[in-house]
């Protein structure tokens, strides 16, 4: 991936841009985590069940 080139990352999921922000902010975005890892992982990381 060319994150090295990016001031911002746009995450496309199911034909929508679900996040558009700096790489750090996108990495921390719960919806992005869900899209890539599944909701249970994101919940676990967020301290949920």
């Amino acid at each position: 991936m060319v994150f090295g080139l990016a001031d911002k990352i746009a995450v496309v999921v199911y034909g929508e841009v679900i996040a558009y922000d700096t790489p750090e902010a996108v990495r921390a975005d719960k919806r992005v985590q869900e899209a890539y890892l599944g909701s249970s992982v994101a919940d676990a990381q967020a301290g949920g069940h």
Binding site: M1, V2, F3, G4, L5, A6, D7, K8, I9, A10, V11, V12, V13, Y14, G15, E16, V17, Y20, T22, P23, E24, A35, Y36
Partner: protein, 240 residues
């Protein structure tokens, strides 16, 4: 890697122009079409695209500021390629708008969008394998200016095109390969040549489709620095 990229601040817009603007001096074709002062280089507004009954792009919104570098990422099948094709004019949106420097470009042909200041990378097969590095770049320059059939205009501007091709060759660090046929370049050099052709027209907005696909790790990092260098001051979208 991204952390260090961020700590440099917003580097793409503020650094000295090596890419687009430096080259605009030679030819101003794409510069003319650019509406200066638009708040965004590229905007997607509730963009939708269906193929048959299947909606692939479902209301995409994006607003990219001039000089920003944006990586478009997403899981396989998310619609990245479709977005790339919608922006570059290969597909027409079902609804919604694509704005380039504030001007609506949906429904326009790829070459028209190119003249308006957006350039996309082509697949590796779009370099001419039996032409030299220099000739490939000169073709890129001439093609971007629309000299396919206007032979007399072509002759008049050939010196400028040569000069610009030389400049591009130095920018992509292939000046030592001036007369080498494209087919005899390494894979990474061919990709660099492809970048050179993509930026040949001096477009302000550059779209790159998987720019580092197929490269080794060390090639990738070198190539990223190269892309950074040659697109400084430009708006850059990479599709991963």
């Amino acid at each position: 890697m991204s952390a260090s990229a961020r700590s440099e601040g917003p580097p793409r817009a503020s650094s000295a122009p090596l890419g687009g603007s430096a080259l605009h001096g030679v030819f101003s074709k794409s510069g003319e079409a650019k509406s200066v002062g638009a708040p965004y280089s590229l905007e997607l507004k509730d963009l939708r695209k269906s193929f048959g009954k299947t909606e692939i792009i479902r209301g995409a919104n994006l607003a990219v500021k001039p000089g920003e570098g944006v990586a478009i990422i997403g899981p396989n099948g998310a619609g990245k390629s479709t977005l790339f094709n919608l922006i570059s004019g290969r597909f027409e949106p079902t609804s919604g708008d694509v704005l380039l420097n504030g001007q609506r470009i949906n429904g326009k042909k790829p070459f028209e969008i190119n003249r308006m200041g957006l350039s996309r990378s082509f697949q590796i097969t779009n370099i001419f394998p039996k032409l030299s590095v220099f000739e490939n770049l000169r073709c890129g320059v001439l093609w971007s200016l629309g000299y396919k059939y206007t032979f007399f205009k072509f002759l008049a501007d050939l010196d400028d095109a040569n000069e610009r091709a030389e400049k591009l060759m130095a920018m992509i660090k292939l000046d030592k390969k001036h007369d080498v046929l494209a087919t005899n370049l390494t894979y990474a050099e061919q990709r660099a040549l492809e970048i050179g052709i993509t930026i040949a027209g001096g477009a302000g907005v550059i779209l790159l489709d998987e720019p580092t696909a197929g490269m080794s790790r060390s090639e990738t990092s070198r190539f990223i620095s190269l892309i950074k260098e040659v697109t400084v001051g430009n708006t850059l979208l990479t599709f991963e």
